[in-house]
């Protein structure tokens, strides 16, 4: 019996020739990640357990991105705890204010994750790196602690759903619309415990950034991971970033999938998710005219340079609507710098938007754009749960950068073509 990409990567890291879905294995880790919210809990566990050494200081990444630059005294305490641990154990890949970016945009950009590698992260959106043909999945702080101490993690080998992509995206339609469409079709537990394996001729037309966006939200369908085959675009992305050798795994032709779902990319329309679940999707046409008070463009889902280029293209020569706040957050310093060079930041400011230093900030109602009762935001982030961006009676509508930027201009939900 053949194996899927995920099975092959897990087998290689467990030292086995073959692993089957449902099998419980222990795998060697190439990278263990944590942020300023989850790392302190892991550090406390690490110290309480009496551990004294990390397994490999080069294979741990600590990124202070959620509440940073620190939003309050308690957040500052968490950052300090993580910073002290990083110093004490000489963690090579420690990213603080000045070098940090939103973890899932930052790590691939820094070449810390490559095709065929096995990564865990104490952040649910760690599944993002599947875009590069890696196995990566979110775990909690105790797993992070165990990973830092032992370099290993236990996994149940997931069964897989294959998403067979055909066609090409239409103008103003992006990876975000694809993944919202998919979650709308299969539900927030439609891939529970499973691997989402993307395949088919449509993959080639998707940019690496679109693939990051799609893999990023695999968790919103309950998946363990989302993974793309490695092609020329992936190799090109890794070329100047990854200097170590990496392995390209391909699914066997007779790999077993629980089912195959065909997605015609050319049929996907601009899509949003209404409160309070990512699966509550509608086409923009269906909700056109819905008022918004805030627009957030950024996050680990959509804060990359291509996202900002799209938003700037929409906002160029236009202005954010009266009584609407538009917050743009480049995901990393490199993205920020590139946006400056290309004049995108100027475009945003001229349009009446604000541009922030990289932070997860408003995505989880942390800071930099918290909502009050009765307010609604359109946001390129990944979750619209009750109270996610602030007040329990506020609302978040998930959208692509194109739709979010257009909606900021009009003050109601729309596509750039409606402007």
């Amino acid at each position: 019996m053949g194996m899927t990409m995920t099975q092959k990567i897990l087998a290689a890291h467990a030292g086995k020739d073959y692993v089957c879905p449902g099998e419980l294995i222990e795998a060697k880790l190439d990278l263990v990640l944590g942020n300023d919210v989850t790392t302190p809990v892991a550090i406390t566990e690490f110290e309480n357990a009496g551990f004294t050494k990390v397994f490999d200081r080069d294979k741990i990444a600590i990124v202070l991105d959620h509440f940073t630059p620190c939003k309050d005294i308690n957040a500052a305490k968490l950052s300090q705890q993580a910073r002290n641990f990083a110093k004490k154990h000489q963690i090579t890949n420690f990213f603080d204010v000045g070098t940090m970016g939103i973890e899932h945009a930052l790590l691939p950009e820094k070449g810390l994750i490559a095709a065929g590698e096995c990564c865990i992260g104490a952040d649910s959106h760690t599944c993002t790196y599947g875009a590069l043909g890696a196995f990566s999945t979110g775990i909690g702080s105790t797993d992070m602690c165990a990973g830092m101490a032992s370099g290993r993690a236990w996994f149940k080998v997931p069964s897989a759903i294959r998403f067979y992509l055909t066609g090409e995206l239409r103008p103003w339609v992006s990876g975000k619309d694809v993944i919202l469409h998919i979650i709308g079709r299969i539900g927030v537990d439609g891939a529970l415990y499973k691997s989402m394996e993307f395949a088919g001729p449509g993959v080639a037309s998707l940019s690496v950034d679109d693939r990051f966006t799609i893999a990023n939200m695999a968790i919103e369908a309950g998946a363990k991971n989302g993974i793309f085959p490695v092609d020329e675009k992936t190799v090109e992305y890794m070329k100047d970033r990854v200097s170590r050798p990496y392995t390209v795994f391909e699914a066997d032709p007779d790999a077993e999938y629980e089912k195959t779902i065909e997605i015609d990319l050319s049929a996907i329309e601009p899509t949003v998710s209404l409160p309070h679940l990512p699966s509550n999707t509608r086409t923009v046409k269906e909700v056109s005219g819905m008022e918004i008070q805030q627009c957030v463009i950024g996050s680990c889902t959509n804060g990359r340079i291509s996202d900002l280029r799209i938003a700037a293209k929409v906002l160029e020569g236009r202005h954010v609507a009266d009584y609407v706040r538009c917050i743009v957050i480049p995901a990393t310093q490199e993205v920020y710098m590139q946006a400056l060079k290309e004049g995108l930041v100027e475009t945003f400011i001229h349009a009446g938007a604000v541009v922030s230093t990289p932070t997860c900030g408003p995505c989880l109602g942390g800071h930099m754009g918290v909502l009050y009762e009765g307010e609604r935001a359109i946001s390129t982030t990944n979750r619209n749960f009750v109270g996610r961006m602030g007040h329990v009676k506020s609302e978040v509508v998930l959208a692509s950068p194109a739709v979010a930027a257009a909606s900021a201009v009009k003050g109601t939900i729309c596509t750039p073509e409606d402007l």
Partner: protein, 165 residues
């Protein structure tokens, strides 16, 4: 081991943002987390919950963020076991790792209502709704996971096996 307690019942897709909202993640103190547990969907829960109570929910309990603060908040509230039709996978791992007992049992989740008195036998997996006189059986854990639970959590199991120092 056998326990019994009163039930707090929730629906499907209870996410970790409502189990413990992000605005409280800047203080990972267990009691502080417990004092805000579930408040965005059930404001009275932190006041109502008694040690030994049981939480029951429908499908995909604990979806969303990987924050371990969520099972910590539930455990520190005094909840003795969470019974659900299904759990989101990161939440499931976190519960095993920190020692919050969980049971997957769709029949029990469907049949049990808020305020019912329920007893649970962890060894046999038997769930008894004493209020309604109904008995259910939860699926047993795989041996690999049961070993982690028996060792007292993931970190103890690593130490026992000499895999970390």
């Amino acid at each position: 081991m056998k326990i019994s307690g009163n039930v707090h019942k929730y629906g499907s897709n209870v996410d970790t943002d409502v189990i413990i909202p992000a605005r409280y993640l800047n203080v990972p103190d267990h009691a502080a987390l417990a004092s805000h547990c579930m408040e965005d969907i059930d404001a009275e829960f932190p006041k109502r919950v008694q040690p030994g109570d049981i939480m029951v929910a429908d499908w995909n309990f604990g979806c969303g963020s990987s924050r371990e603060h969520a099972p910590i908040a539930i455990k520190a509230s005094g909840i003795a076991v969470v019974i659900a039709s299904s759990f989101a996978r990161i939440f499931y791992r976190n519960c095993i790792n920190i020692g919050l007992p969980i049971m997957e049992c769709p029949e029990a989740a469907e049949g049990i209502e808020a305020g019912d008195k329920v007893s649970v036998d962890f060894d046999s997996g038997e769930i008894v709704n004493e209020t309604k006189g109904k008995t259910y059986h939860a699926a047993a854990f795989p041996a690999f996971i049961q070993d982690i639970i028996n060792a007292g959590g993931l970190l103890n199991s690593l130490k026992a096996r000499g895999l970390a120092e």
